[in-house]
């Protein structure tokens, strides 16, 4: 694959499902997979996350974004379970703005490091500026 892929994790399926729609409109070339909720309820599930990573795995890399703390534990477990663990990075970024920045950066053909940096800089973004 030519581009870095993204995996979005949320406690709510609807959050990541809506976010994926937005990202696909913004940048249709970048593969985005989601893992949201746990057995139809609120939560996260390491197996679902593992499957999501595998579904978009790219030699160029996979960047993972998550919403709230405990999703991180399952994301780390999911990576542990993978056979190919190279080039998978969990970004320390806000989910919506971080994913938006990441998809644009990835769509420029950037490296995984650049995509992670773009998504993490979303923390510094001032949303009100006039």
């Amino acid at each position: 694959m030519k581009y870095v892929s993204l995996v979005l994790i949320s406690h709510s399926y609807e959050i990541v499902s809506g976010l994926k729609k937005l990202l696909n409109q913004v940048q249709p070339d970048v593969s985005v997979a989601i893992a949201g909720g746990a057995e139809g309820d609120i939560g996260t599930n390491a197996l679902d996350i593992k499957k999501a990573i595998e579904s978009v795995y790219s030699e160029k890399g996979v960047v993972i974004l998550f919403d709230l703390g405990s999703a991180l534990i399952n994301a780390e477990m999911a990576i542990e379970m993978l056979e190919k663990k190279e080039n998978i990075i969990i970004a320390d970024a806000p989910l919506v703005e971080g994913a938006y920045a990441a998809v644009v950066e990835a769509g420029c053909g950037s490296s995984i490091e650049e995509v992670v940096r773009a998504s993490e800089s979303a923390k510094e973004l001032a949303k009100l500026n006039d």
């Binding site: 644009v104 950066e105 769509g107 773009a118 973004l125 500026n129």
Partner: protein, 86 residues
């Protein structure tokens, strides 16, 4: 280096989708491309920088471009900000 004031005509300004499109295309030029709005001067090749100045329809912004393909890059920026197309 070239500098030019451009009136933004792109309908509704650079919101999420056109901004992403703009960044992707401007990254294809080698030159350094910066936009100045008010006191802010930003790197136009970074989506978050671009979001931070919120370019709106009807505003005038200054473009500063420096590099070997600056003329081509300016032509692109100008036409994009005025029509949303290349």
């Amino acid at each position: 280096m070239i500098e030019k004031e451009i009136s933004v005509i792109i309908e509704n300004g650079l919101h999420a989708r056109p901004a992403a499109d703009f960044v992707k295309k401007v990254n294809q030029y080698k030159s350094k491309v910066e936009l100045v709005k008010g006191e802010k001067r930003i790197n136009a090749k970074s989506i978050l920088n671009l979001m931070s100045i919120a370019v709106k329809e009807g505003q005038t912004i200054k473009v500063i471009i420096d590099g070997e393909d600056e003329k081509e890059a300016l032509a692109f920026v100008e036409s994009f900000l005025q029509s949303g197309k290349e």
